[in-house]
């Protein structure tokens, strides 16, 4: 996946006399807080993974590996999990890590005011067995629990309490919003929110050091062209993301290298299935055709995904057939093929459903959330128009987009989903279950897709320990969603990073940038 390094990869020709071990990188979003329990969002968790650590962590291939716990095993017949903690670990301020910090971090992270609370909904209790042993009890057998807590980061009890940050405070902020004290390989030495964050290595880190960085600086740069210019001129050593269209030319320029991969995020179209009438377009107020599975199937045949991948995505993305990418656990190999691009078939399906002349409707789309989201929606609009489905496209910034979706203001919409647990169960819970506020199910199922069998399968999948049986159920769920075209999955969003020629690093599919795998040559 990584492009071959040029033999001439000495220091970047354009860069000034920068110290070899200084590393500067730019991304689109500044982590809004340094508190690992306040906000459950990728920019925050990705950044803080360099500073804080959990009991377990993900390796270069996304597999779960020991971090602050050296080993773990199920308790009894699925009552929970026992974690044996690593000894001799110190926080950045020098205090030592033990089971009390785990208990404290559980209480902190699962509190009502913490955004990370949902990770602990299967947990019934956390017990300190001794200074280096912790039992985490679950309400039901939970085979994937260790996988689900890789981002649950350990905070020092003494530090948090001394600084009046025993709980995260997202609304007003507190000491932990601006300061960090983790056990990770890097510590925050300077923080100017929204402008720059400086990291230096944690000399007392327990792990084996792979990087050679003495100082690292992160700057958020919103405008993609500015970021590319900064990389080309050597003002930064790494940018994420590289605009897809620039990847090829940058890679060929010889000054920088482009590192490509497949992200965990699947981009799909959702269609209103609860609403009785269409809400937009010339057919506004008429019965909603998307309630008919044949119309939804017609959409999936009408969208020319290979063409989108070839032009807009420039060959950087992979087609998707289900709500998770092939890299995720529980991916259904039996359902790996997506419906073929077939305009005749789409038209036939529409005619069969009673719409031989098509219809007009509204398509909502974000224009700053996913890679080239607006261009993709435009392409979808013209592809659907070719089979008679006239979409009225309304693209908007994401801050206006979610409220529109929550208010059900769409006939069709674009959605990207990256499963936090890296497991196929996650999208079923959030996107495919019948919405149920009390059980906290289907909270992103705006479309209102509902299938009794899927609802019945979900709890069974969640508690099944036998991997084969579990996979069979996931296959069944994927099959049902394909048969009914619950969504139209289109492609897996690509990851494209750019670095100077003198940088080597590892790209992880969750788009987390792990500084301890970086070396500056």
């Amino acid at each position: 996946m990584k492009r071959a390094l040029s033999i001439l990869a000495v220091a970047s020709a354009l860069g000034g006399p920068v110290l070899a071990e200084e590393f500067k990188w730019a991304g689109t979003t500044d982590p809004q807080t340094m508190d690992p329990h306040a906000v459950n969002s990728a920019p925050v968790l990705g950044f803080l993974n360099n500073v804080y650590e959990g009991l377990v962590r993900r390796g270069k291939d996304m597999s779960i590996e020991p971090a602050l716990a050296t080993s773990w095993e199920p308790i009894g017949n699925g009552e929970g999990w026992r974690f044996i903690l690593r000894e001799g670990v110190t926080f950045h301020d020098g205090s030592s890590f033990d089971a009390e910090d785990v208990l404290f971090s559980y209480q902190r992270a699962s509190n009502e005011v913490s955004d990370t609370r949902s990770w602990f909904s299967p947990v019934s209790d956390v017990k300190v067995v001794d200074a280096y042993t912790v039992d985490i009890l679950t309400k039901a057998p939970n085979p994937i629990f260790p996988d689900s807590i890789a981002n649950w980061m350990m905070v020092d009890k003494g530090w948090a309490e001394a600084n009046e940050a025993a709980l995260p405070d997202k609304e007003n902020g507190n000491y932990a919003t601006l300061n960090a004290n983790g056990t990770g390989a890097f510590m925050v030495s300077e923080r100017e929110p929204g402008l720059r964050t400086e990291l230096v290595p944690h000399t007392g880190w327990w792990g084996e050091v792979e990087h050679n960085i003495t100082r690292a600086e992160f700057t958020p740069v919103q405008n993609p062209a500015t970021a590319v210019a900064a990389l080309l001129s050597g003002d930064v050593d790494m940018i994420n993301p590289v605009p897809i269209q620039d990847a090829e030319r940058l890679a060929g320029s010889g000054d920088v290298q482009v590192i490509r991969g497949i992200e965990a995020r699947v981009i799909m179209l959702g269609m209103a299935q609860e609403s009785d009438v269409l809400k937009y377009g010339d057919d506004e107020g008429k019965p909603n055709p998307f309630k008919d599975a044949r119309v939804r199937a017609a959409v999936s045949h009408a969208v020319n995904v290979p063409a989108i991948l070839k032009t807009i995505m420039r060959g950087n993305a992979e087609p998707a057939s289900q709500l998770v990418s092939p890299a995720m656990r529980g991916y259904s190999n039996a359902n790996a093929d997506r419906p073929a691009f077939d305009q005749a078939k789409a038209k036939a399906l529409l005619a069969e459903a009673g719409y031989p002349d098509g219809f007009s409707f509204g398509l909502k789309c974000p224009n700053n959330r996913y890679l080239n989201d607006e261009a993709v929606c435009q392409a979808v609009t013209s592809m659907l128009a070719q089979v008679g489905m006239m979409a009225q496209l309304d693209a908007m910034p994401v801050q206006n987009y979610w409220p529109e979706l929550r208010a059900d203001n769409y006939d069709m919409y674009l959605l990207g989903w990256s499963p936090g647990t890296f497991d196929a169960e996650h999208p079923i819970r959030f996107l495919a279950s019948t919405p149920n506020k009390e059980k906290k199910l289907g909270s992103w199922n705006f479309a209102g897709y509902s299938n009794a069998r899927i609802d019945a399968l979900l709890p069974m999948i969640q508690s099944e320990i036998d991997a084969t049986k579990r996979q069979a159920m996931l296959d069944e769920a994927a099959q049902i969603m394909q048969d009914e075209t619950a969504y139209v999955p289109m492609y897996v969003q690509p990851l494209v990073w750019g670095t100077g020629q003198n940088i080597s690093l590892t790209q992880r599919p969750d788009n987390f940038f792990i500084l301890r795998w970086v070396s500056v040559n």
Partner: protein, 314 residues
Amino acid sequence: MSDQTSQSAPKSMFARAWDSDFAYKFRRTPVAVVSALVVALLVLSAVFAPLIAPHNPFDPASLNLMNGFTAPMAANEFTGDVFWLGTDDQGRDVFSTILYGMRISLFVGFSAVLFAMVLGITLGLIAGYVGGWIETIIMRAADVQLTFPAILVAMLIFGVAKGITPIEHQDKMAIWVLILAIGLSDWVQFARVVRGATLVEKDKEYVQAARMIGRGKGIIMLRHILPNVLSPVLVIATISLALAIIAEATLSFLGVGAPPTQPSLGTLIRIGQGFLFSGEWWIILFPSITLLSLALSVNLLGDWLRDALNPRLQ
């Protein structure tokens, strides 16, 4: 330098115009002639875009995504189609899209400036001539207005319009919202300059004379003061037209502009901006050149007009 209109003979307007110094000077100024020709050419090709353009880029069903990113005068590698100025990311013919986009830009530009000018001159005259608490209210309203950058005004109007228009009409609304937003953010310039000039003019002898013979306030403002404050208004109006077209582009850069399925010149530049580093130079170059020629000619023409129309410079 006062009342020229009252002295002129009742000749036909056109003959008078052709014989005038004004037309003579125009014919003798190459820059003005060239600018006028460029503006006329661009305006005409925008008006007749449906007749000139090889494709209708606003018809989504006619687009083939596989035509995307075709270089100018080169055959597309999948479809074999050739486009004069290449295609954009959606496979739209850049030449056709420019023509159609220019229609939107010109419409937005003219309408917004007209709106701003009428509003600004009216309020400026009233404020300057009438004075008192009316002036206070107008000029304080101008302060409030100036406080809000154009983008904000646009966002506000977008949001409010979204809230009050029935959802099925929202796609047709974007253009009017742009006009309103750009117009509203621009009237203050006119109002302030007109007021400033009116304050100076209103105590001059010719105005006092008109007042003395019993002319009404409205007549005095329109017939006597207005012609004498038009010089600064023209400077602002010319720049404003070009500026309005550019403001549309800026708004679209910030995510509030013409919809991408019906792009204006500015939206095209915004889209093309994303391909500056990727080698598809034609997507940004041709719309930018068009915008530049349009704005530049309008400005040059305005420059010349201002000098030519000013009686004091003759």
